[in-house]
Assembly symmetry: C2
């Protein structure tokens, strides 16, 4: 098979950044999800190749520790210090700026904020709260915001939707937009596509943007976000991918691949 | 008392358009709400004056019939044919355009759509669903929209929030924005501040915009919407009014009054 156009210029590549949900596995269902074919082997092959690797997720339905445990149970070779996730990044920001959050997040994420002062809140942190996005909880978050002199909303991502085994589900960005409109404010986004978030992953690997390649299923948050930082980025045709993504009005991926396994095949041929 | 500046030029006035929630009464609580002081008498005085009168509401938590019954129980002299509400207007649009809605509305509003075909939906109609704005119901509406070739969302209003007796509550506009963002679309709004909606109220009274005055508690949807149609508009300092509304960056009311009773005092002095 001839190498695709995007394979050109991969020789300087030193690091890969992988999205998790929709790239490694589809979330949801009884076992917590279903690995995407070939992705477990693909992760192992990247590690054997000597390329640096981090997983860059906007997952906020569990603490990073619990999330990694789930991935390990699904058979992935992933450890906690390889995963860049929004909640730990948000905690650093809250502490640095003396912010006390009202949390609108999934119960399973709450322990991530155990050491953060939450009395008398002066901001709202919103994550992918899923079933916790009730009218009552949305009103509580709204009432905290509207009661502040200068309402501050910190959002763990700005994704529109993700794919679970039983269909597409609304993501945190949709509820972020709802509260933005209610209070006539703009949220601060922690997580993809925020520049700070990608840069912290690169710094963690000690590489420059041009030496790294992002692989994700979200054309805006994975591909567009990484490209804005000077990285190259591929979109996989798994997870929430839809054919119309390839005609997206604002973002064009450096390449489109059927799945992670196919991407890794091409990359390792070029790099080795 | 000297007449306020806005009283000048009221001599040609022939008709009043009143918002209901936050102007006549504050909704919520056990009895379904609490009349605002002086508003019952104010409505009666308008009717005695010979001015034409309609009530222009974005209320979608009940059918128009049930809503009017509640107002009558609270002591207001209001009849169903005096009330302009979004759901009957939406039904006309659905029928004219052969649209079959998936409904994301309050249970109590559903009977308003009894005669509308809802099989195999080709659009979503969203109203102030309140507790029905669950994550599951939002996902259902989203899945209908994202499955359409050209997603069509019809929103019964675009309000941000309203005041109930126990505090501010999120209104339909917030959830409209959420679905707009999820699907990357713009909703069609039926109800205030839509031009069509105000014009239908004026047509019903047989008056021109410059002969009518709107009185509401929502600076954008009541005051701004009416002004865009060429009407004058007052904001009352009741309901969801907040002092910062008087410095709104885009909308300046023709006048601000403490409540409906005060507005009617001034108006009747000028008109009679």
């Amino acid at each position: 098979m001839a190498a695709p156009a995007w394979a050109g210029g991969l020789r300087g590549l030193r690091a890969l950044l992988l999205d998790i949900s929709g790239v490694l596995y589809d979330s949801g269902g009884a076992g917590g999800g279903q690995p995407i074919e070939g992705s477990k082997e693909a992760v192992s092959r990247i590690k054997e190749s000597g390329l640096k690797l981090r997983f860059c997720t906007n997952e906020t339905q569990a603490t990073r520790g619990e999330f990694v445990k789930k991935l390990q149970l699904l058979g992935f070779d992933v450890s906690e210090n390889e995963v860049i996730a929004p909640a730990p990044a948000a905690c650093r920001i809250l502490q640095e700026r003396g912010l006390r959050p009202h949390l609108l997040v999934h119960e399973a994420l709450v322990p991530e904020f155990d050491r953060i002062d939450k009395m008398n809140p002066n901001c709202v942190v919103i994550g992918d709260a899923a079933e916790n996005f009730t009218y009552s909880n949305m009103n509580k978050a709204f009432q905290v915001l509207i009661g502040l002199q200068k309402p501050l909303l910190i959002s763990l991502g700005r994704g529109r939707y993700y794919k679970e085994t039983d269909g597409l589900k609304l993501d945190v960005g949709v509820y972020m937009k709802a509260l933005e409109y209610a209070c006539d404010i703009k949220a601060e986004v922690v997580g993809k596509p925020s520049r700070m978030f990608f840069l912290s992953a690169l710094e963690d690997m000690g590489v420059e943007p041009h030496q790294a390649l992002m692989i994700g299923d979200d054309i805006v948050n994975d591909v567009g976000g990484a490209q804005q930082c000077g990285m190259r980025a591929l979109q996989v045709r798994t997870g929430k991918y839809r054919p119309c993504d390839e005609q997206h009005p604002e973002v064009t991926a450096d390449g489109y691949v059927n799945n992670l396994a196919e991407a890794v095949d091409v990359i390792l041929q070029q790099v080795n």
